[in-house]
Symmetry: C2
Subunit: 189 residues, 2 copies
Amino acid sequence: MELLKKRICETGQVIGDRIIKVDGFLNHQIDIALLNEIGKEFKARFVSSQITKILTIEASGIGIACITAQYFKVPVLFAKKNEASNLDKDVYSSEVYSFTKDKTYNVQVAKKFLAPTDKVLIIDDFLANGNAVQGLLDIVKQSGAQTLGVGIVIEKSFQQGRKKISDENIQLESLAIIKELRQGQIIFG
Amino acid sequence: MELLKKRICETGQVIGDRIIKVDGFLNHQIDIALLNEIGKEFKARFVSSQITKILTIEASGIGIACITAQYFKVPVLFAKKNEASNLDKDVYSSEVYSFTKDKTYNVQVAKKFLAPTDKVLIIDDFLANGNAVQGLLDIVKQSGAQTLGVGIVIEKSFQQGRKKISDENIQLESLAIIKELRQGQIIFG
């Protein structure tokens, strides 16, 4: 998605060879007009899917999921992150390790909001090591629902996320794929 | 806002005399069509204001703020919650005590995203004790920007939030005001 890549180049901040900060338009300040273009692009890429629900994870995924959901006309469900383990019987949960924060979260979704008949599109801002998406895939599996696709705004393809998801044989669409961060430069794949 | 009150009555779960759970449409699963009506209503109520930015707080405020921002054609900025105190010189921060979680958070916004020329609309899902909104008002003050309004989806008027904000002489609009929760019944104000 050229508009997105252009914005990443113009305002993204490269830190070392692994981190790109996009807090100016995606995950702290949010450019809603750009998010609308992102939503339309996800709709175009998952066009044949009979999505019934968009699943994301707090916090950065929520805005993207809500704007995107307007084009699919389905509800959004966002998984909650808890630091403590919680054995609540009314939730599906999965443990997710965050490299950014060096913490393991217990990610949870209330059982009543995922039915075996649901066809789920998972949306998130970043795909890096893939742990968050794997946690969400795990939750969908527990519910008996089906994940029809994973839509990512920015993928860092030099990390392991894609491989983990490809193993699941699910349509994965990343709107910008960064294959390398080198000396402050962003190299798209 | 009648549509919202109707939904609260139909699907809200009253717990004791202080808690109303609306996780079916507002803060876990999100009804995007309803959020669009909420966004339009905020636009109608803050019609004369020259809003330049919508400020909210993660996580439940983000979806509401993003959908609402489409009607104001301004960016969203969401404050981040950190448990640890953080003396980062590049952020405005304010301490916020959460009754729900019995924790004090350090709420932060990067300085570069709030300018003294900004006219801010604060949006959140609930107004109860008002601590979150007070933290956001404090952050806007630190930046030299001006808060033109506070838009709340559900206010529990039997708690102290409105009084704290009224003292600031800022336009406060709550789309549903609950004055009492009694024996499982919701009494609107």
